[in-house]
């Protein structure tokens, strides 16, 4: 979606247009979900974060200076809420850059039981062996609809310029793990 279209949705939502609000939800709900799951929040915690993010946004709409950048605001707010929830539950683990190369026992927080094909399970298993930051980045980039690099940068607190190269390294590592 073009930034002008996003800005238009924000402007109309400010004026009380529920359809425009629903359009923002449609555009960014997948990103919010990907960020929550990237932080390994459980279902209840993730649902709470989702609720708070949208409550914050509706309250904040009139104060957004650059409507086209609302996605970055949503991404950063979601990230902060996830970190708050993780702090409250004592589960904060800081991801470092070298987590990109960290290979451990598979852990994705995903239930592979929903997958029918062995090939899909193998791919999910390999994904689970990637470092936390790789998993988070790939999951976010694969959200539907796909967020912009600016939004990804806000969600992961990383420079826009490093997203593409990091993505390439993560996918290369994934391919290596798949054999």
């Amino acid at each position: 979606m073009q930034t002008t279209a996003v800005a238009d949705l924000v402007t109309r939502a400010r004026d009380g247009d529920q359809q425009a609000w629903d359009g923002l939800v449609e555009r960014y709900l997948g990103m919010v979900h990907a960020i929550c799951r990237g932080h390994r929040l459980g279902a209840d915690d993730a649902a709470d974060v989702n609720q708070v993010v949208w409550l914050r946004l509706v309250e904040h709409l009139s104060r957004i200076r650059t409507p086209a950048a609302v996605g970055g605001w949503i991404a950063a707010t979601t990230r902060n809420e996830c970190l708050r929830v993780r702090r409250m539950s004592g589960r904060l683990v800081l991801a470092r850059d070298d987590d990109l190369d960290h290979v451990d026992e598979p852990h994705t927080g995903i239930d592979a039981g929903l997958l029918v094909y062995e090939r899909d399970r193998a791919l999910l298993d390999a994904f689970g062996r990637l470092g936390d930051r790789c998993q988070h980045l790939l999951r976010l980039l694969l959200a539907d609809p796909s967020p912009s690099y600016d939004e990804v940068a806000a969600a992961l607190d990383m420079p826009v310029g490093s997203i593409g190269p990091t993505r390439g390294r993560c996918l290369e590592q994934l391919r290596h793990l798949l054999g």
Binding site: L29, L55, L138, L142
Partner: protein, 158 residues
């Protein structure tokens, strides 16, 4: 006769597409998420001018590094203003419930509504502007103040 060569490894874009498909299959988003997000817009229908948050003891760092406060300790204090009106809220947060003690400055007897996602409760302040809501669910909370110039707070997330 020679063995068939192994299948070439998928390129990055094909691999990413496969991974996206698998994640979507294995980690679907609950449909309730959309309804929750859509319902958040209901705040705009709560009558009143949005008041401005001027103090939150959590944001002021009174709650400690983690921003969390164990149930049963000092209440969280929040203050909003709108024009000459101040809305002071003390939230005593338990495990599942919270108690809200509030005061309007200057004091006035008006109707108030405590809103949370999916519910609300009506109350009245006394002549000094004091009000109280017991046994509210531990959910994001917004207080709407009636009277000649209605005002509402933002969402306070316990």
């Amino acid at each position: 006769m020679t063995d068939r060569p192994p299948a070439p490894p998928p390129d990055h874009e094909a691999l990413a597409a496969e991974l996206g498909r698998v994640i979507m299959l294995a980690d679907p988003r609950a449909e309730s998420w959309r309804a929750t997000a859509g319902a958040a817009f209901g705040w705009t229908a709560i009558g009143g001018v949005p008041a401005r948050l001027v103090y939150d003891s959590h944001l002021a760092g009174d709650a400690g590094d983690d921003g969390a406060r164990p149930a049963g300790t000092v209440p969280r204090q929040v203050r909003y203003t709108s024009g000459m009106l101040a809305i002071e809220l003390d939230l005593d947060i338990g495990a599942d419930k919270l108690r809200l003690l509030g005061r309007l400055v200057p004091g006035a007897r008006v109707e108030l509504v405590a809103h949370w996602p999916g519910g609300q409760r009506v109350g009245v302040s006394d002549d000094d502007g004091a009000f109280r809501f017991d046994e509210l669910p531990r959910r994001p909370l917004c207080v709407a103040v009636g009277g000649d110039d209605p005002v509402k707070t933002g969402w306070v997330v316990p």
